[in-house]
């Protein structure tokens, strides 16, 4: 998760914008039109977006599905454990007799919320640190980047395992918060943000370094604009594309990390379902109920690959080098 395995590839082999403009009857295309043309040309990204929208809708409709089927996703019913698919349980039941489909949908809510929240949190912190380092430079830059390098070099998973085992009561958090069911969601988001901001920080720093020598930034400086305004109004909007791409690409990695931690029993805590903790018992159940091991893993895989394709498509569509060719 520290280094995203998505190097920025140049836009090789793509039809040049001049050619696209010619196709459009010589009329110049707006930036937004160019974006959509390029994005729609990436068929895997479009399919991924459709899949993710469907998945989000289905997850959001989990209570509805529960009501329609007349089942309770949290109800333990040992007499009906490990049932094959039926009208009431379209995907059967798990080892405690709970409906697999409903739990998968609730697990989808958790995975998507954790993935998006942690990616956004990482993007905000990474952008802040990156723009500060890039704009002010000097010692602050050296210090922040050394710190970033240090965090990137760490073995993240063992560190997260220790962090996830910390007793929140000893940190002085109020008892009712610690005991609440959703605490494991907040906690995993915070933990992932703690180690996840590095990619965006490095990207934004690099982009800021090249932005701050541009004429419009210099002009703003000459006119006496305060540093905060220059960073927020003149630099940030211009580095937003790489942030969007990196953030989208990071969601997949975050969902993987969440599922690993939940699988190991240190992430989302039962009875709250997540795709990771639904697999915790899968290894013992391989013989009796192998399908229980298939569904959650398959959903993680499809969701993660969809976010990766979506990010790849956005990268192609937002590639600044290609837009300059216009």
């Amino acid at each position: 998760m520290t280094i995203s395995p998505h190097p920025e590839t140049p836009n090789e082999g793509r039809p040049l914008l001049a050619a696209e403009a010619a196709l459009a009857g010589g009329a110049a295309l707006s930036v937004r039109q160019i974006f959509w043309r390029r994005f729609l040309a990436h068929r895997l990204a479009v399919a991924s977006l459709a899949f993710l929208v469907l998945l989000s809708l289905a997850s959001a409709a989990a209570p509805l599905v529960e009501a329609l089927l007349g089942v309770d996703g949290n109800l333990v019913d040992l007499f009906n454990a490990k049932q094959p698919p039926s009208a009431q349980h379209p995907l059967g039941t798990d080892e405690l007799g709970r409906d697999t489909l409903v739990r998968l949908l609730y697990g989808g809510q958790v995975s998507l919320i954790v993935g998006l929240a942690a990616a956004l949190g990482s993007a905000v912190i990474g952008s802040f640190l990156g723009i500060m380092a890039g704009y002010y430079g000097g010692r602050l830059d050296a210090l922040l980047m050394r710190f970033t390098d240090g965090v990137i070099a760490l073995p993240i998973l063992p560190l997260l395992i220790i962090l996830a085992a910390v007793d929140l009561r000893k940190l002085g958090l109020p008892e009712d918060l610690v005991a609440s069911e959703s605490i494991s969601i907040y906690r995993i988001v915070v933990l992932i943000v703690l180690v996840g901001w590095t990619t965006v920080a490095r990207l934004v720093r690099g982009a800021t370094l090249s932005m701050k020598t541009r004429e419009f930034v210099r002009a703003a400086e000459a006119m006496g604009a305060p540093a905060r305004r220059i960073m927020l109004v003149h630099i940030l909007p211009n580095v937003v594309s790489p942030i969007i791409v990196a953030t989208t690409l990071s969601v997949g990695g975050i969902i993987l990390l969440e599922s690993v931690l939940s699988f190991l029993g240190l992430g989302i805590q039962p009875p709250l379902p997540s795709w990771g903790n639904m697999l915790t018992n899968a290894q013992e159940l391989i013989w009796e109920a192998p399908v229980l091991a298939i569904y959650p893993g398959l959903l993680i895989f499809l969701t993660v690959i969809a976010f990766n394709f979506l990010g790849d498509g956005l990268q192609d569509a937002l590639d600044p080098r290609a837009i300059q060719e216009d």
Partner: protein, 315 residues
């Protein structure tokens, strides 16, 4: 060069020192301390006994003081005892570090053997069917949950086909029977690693292919193979070397998952077991050893730069 090396080593040890304090403090925040564990196993113990024991072991003192005490004995080579195994921490960890190095080394080697040709092949034929196919495989490798992949491998090779053991370690009797236990963990970690390396390799090779010297080489009539081997490969290796070093932490995380599922006695599994089992000394030293390994790998990659690209020199 020597001065650079010395500075980098000093930095690495600084990171290690900071990490040791952070982990030490975090372990102090974990539920239950060693005395709680004793109370749990001995119902006769009174709160006064517990307090006396805490004072005896120094657990009532402030964290900084306890850390300095730990650091003092650590610097003399005393890392304490493992609570789960009742043996000195290093006796437990060092053989397992060796096992992890074997697992990670083999997987990384295999991933490179697959990814270098695949990435370069894809780069020389951008947007072709092969390129798309390789890209799809790479994305699948990045996106598959490593623990699920391991479970699928067990279902296929151990449960259905019965070719390989589902987990555990060899008994050390014969090299070949021990090797059978390594196959599935190495396979799982290789698949989890190879996708990212292919993507980096492809991007680096595309970048190298558009350099002037490639055009020159083509103009003077070199074959595609000569250009790729003589000009592209070496230049593409420079960025890939950095990425690989930075991936060491990720590779270790992957090893932790793989070891845990296959019950392979490596560092990752040991760290996980020790955190879950409140074995503080092992958790602390294990994480520090893992950090040290990734830091040294980073350093090695920087040194590999100078070998790959003589234009870079360190002062």
């Amino acid at each position: 060069m020597l001065a650079y090396l010395a500075r980098r080593l000093a930095e690495s040890f600084l990171v290690l020192a900071i990490m040791s304090f952070v982990i030490f403090a975090l372990l102090g925040l974990m539920p239950g301390d060693p005395i709680d564990v004793m109370i749990f196993s001995d119902p006769e113990m009174t709160p006064e006994d517990a307090a006396r024991l805490r004072a005896l072991y120094g657990l009532d003192r402030p964290i900084a003081e306890r850390y300095l005490t730990w650091l003092g004995s650590a610097l003399q080579g005393d890392f304490g005892y493992s609570r789960l195994y009742n043996r000195p921490t290093l006796d437990i960890l060092l053989p397992r570090l060796g096992n992890t190095v074997v697992l990670m080394g083999l997987s990384l080697f295999l991933a490179l053997i697959i990814a270098l040709p695949a990435g370069i092949y894809a780069a020389t034929r951008p947007q072709s069917l092969t390129d798309h196919g390789i890209n799809l495989i790479a994305f699948a490798g990045i996106s598959i949950p490593p623990f699920w992949l391991a479970i699928l491998l067990i279902i296929l090779f151990a449960v259905v086909l019965g070719w390989l053991p589902a987990g555990g370690m060899g008994d050390g009797q014969s090299f070949w029977s021990d090797l059978r236990f390594l196959v599935l963990p190495v396979l799982a970690l290789t698949i989890a690693t190879v996708g990212g390396v292919i993507r980096f390799m492809r991007a680096a090779a595309i970048e190298a292919l558009r350099q002037d010297f490639v055009r020159t080489a083509r103009a003077k009539g070199l074959s595609g193979r000569q250009i790729v081997i003589g000009h592209v490969l070496r230049n593409a290796m420079i960025p890939v070397a950095t990425i690989l070093a930075l991936q060491m932490g990720n590779l270790f995380s992957g090893a932790l998952i793989t070891e845990t599922i296959f019950a392979y006695l490596g560092m990752g599994k040991t760290i996980y077991d020790s955190v879950v089992g409140n074995d503080y000394n092992v958790a602390l030293v294990g994480l520090l050893l893992a950090t040290l390994t990734t830091l040294l790998a980073n350093l090695l990659a920087d040194l590999a730069y100078t070998w790959l690209d003589p234009r870079i020199s360190y002062q």
